[in-house]
Symmetry: C2
Subunit: 304 residues, 2 copies
């Protein structure tokens, strides 16, 4: 059974202190799908693009065993566009432009074939749309959702309806603080888990990630990268690697959940080493496993 | 042979959103000594206070097996005072007052008995004073030093003379970025290690700590505390636990260095659970060991 991924596909114009790309392949569904594609197939992708969406990007996705049966291509429509600029300190970025275009009218219609998917990853889009997808599913077993400050502030009601229907919420630390209205992340995790998702993952960028379940707190390190070329898509790659690994192993226990967090972190570390989706385009599972072992070395210490 | 600790002793007035204390026992040497005292004795303390330094604080330090033969008590002098206020987000603090008082004229004179110490912890004071201490030592084997933005900006030359004579530099992430003039911490670690210290530890508060040696990078998690009462002294407690454990075990290899980072983090987590030095006053080594094991559980994942 395929892993269903829903989210945005877009054309990104990104500047960092090191380089600049225009109309590169971007969007949450893109990064999630590419990241997940290295774990287990098939990945079912749902999203919307315009007629201007380059054929080469369609090919790229299909070459990664990503099923595009759920991709709507709007005749005469224009693809979602995003433009951002990263500062010298890559933790700081300015959004220069967000053009929703065909995304404004996006009405996700889950193809029959996708409805039986047990694993669903709801990339960062309007929570009302995320709910609409879930409403059409037969009986999803494991739903991972992502969101952002924009929806936490502007679509709180929809988000609060979505959370009890999600098994995992993945957000970053500032979003967690905003959602819980609590600066302490450990306290915030309890507040957020009370909102519905039994599992919470808080991404902290260069500081790694925290996994909270009913039984455990797990602190994952960040891979020590000397050179981050483009942080765009890191969070989505994390989500894709995380759910991809769980979909592959079909084990939702705590120990495997920790491994999935590390696999997500490993894929994300490859993503940011190159511009746009380049770091995810020619990856190999063996390389991801090697990096997993580097994460082990990075954080392992013994009992004494 | 004793572990030599040099630094400030002071009277702290601290406000957090939860409580306030006036003229509590504080200072870098105080926290380092108390933290180290749980590992191996004796701790030799060097510093300066005024006549107003309460007898009960002298007793408290002596009750922790801390040798005060190097503590100068200036007749008619006034003890160093610091006052700070923490915000609702405890990562943010305002310094309300810094009165150097007797510290202004501090001339560290290492007692004969202390000169043969092999382990030296130079708490955060003027690097010129830290050098003065090293100049008087016979042949220290392992020198740990701490510093802060104030000295990085104002006493760069002295600091640059001190670093090649230090085995370990312990600083926080913003200080590392400032010292290396580099936002990426991994790159910054190389720049700083090139300044002299073969080992660098970057403290990241709620995000844990990074250890850099020639061979390894080690990422230590932070203990997940729901309630931090008073962050004052956390960094000094870390340094005290770190060097205390190394002094106890007399093993300076990479694996033991990692353990020392976790022991430092464990002691620091007890420190911030109570106001001022309260969290360090009635600790037990068994409790520290239990917390060490909690750190293991927090960050352990397996090969798969």
């Amino acid at each position: 059974m395929g892993l269903l991924v829903v989210g945005s596909l877009g054309l990104d114009t990104v500047a960092t202190p090191f380089d600049k790309v225009e109309n590169a392949l971007g969007g949450s569904a893109t990064y999630i799908s590419l990241a997940a594609s290295y774990f287990s197939g098939p990945v079912y992708l749902m999203g919307v693009v315009g007629e201007d969406f380059p054929k080469k990007y369609i090919d790229l996705l299909e070459n990664h065993n990503i099923d595009l049966g759920g991709l709507q291509i709007v005749e005469g429509g224009k693809t979602f566009r995003w433009s951002g600029k990263y500062h010298y300190d890559l933790n700081v970025r300015d959004t220069l432009l967000t053009e929703l275009n065909v995304f404004e009218e996006f009405n996700p219609m889950v193809p029959e074939k996708y409805k039986k998917s047990k694993f669903v990853c709801l990339g960062n889009i309007d929570p009302a749309l995320q709910i609409k997808v879930l409403d059409q599913m037969d009986n999803p077993q494991f739903v991972v959702c992502d969101t952002m400050n924009y929806w936490i502030e502007g679509k709180k009601d929809d988000l609060m309806s979505l959370l009890p229907r999600s098994n995992v919420l993945i957000i970053n630390d500032s979003e967690a603080r905003l959602l819980a209205k609590e600066p302490n992340l450990i306290k915030a995790s309890k507040v957020i888990r009370d909102m519905g998702p039994e599992i919470l993952i808080i991404k902290k960028g260069e500081h790694g990630a925290l996994l909270f379940t009913e039984d455990i707190i797990f602190s994952a390190p960040a891979y020590p990268l000397e050179m981050i070329y483009d942080p765009t898509g890191a969070g989505d790659s994390f989500a894709g690697g995380f759910i991809g690994y769980l979909h592959k192993t079909q084990d939702l226990g705590s120990e495997n959940m920790k491994r999935a967090v590390i696999y997500g972190s490993a894929v994300a570390s490859f993503c940011v080493e190159k511009f746009s989706t380049k770091g995810l385009e020619e990856l190999e599972y063996l390389k991801v496993q090697d990096r997993y072992r580097e994460f082990l070395n990075l954080s392992r210490f013994d009992e004494k």
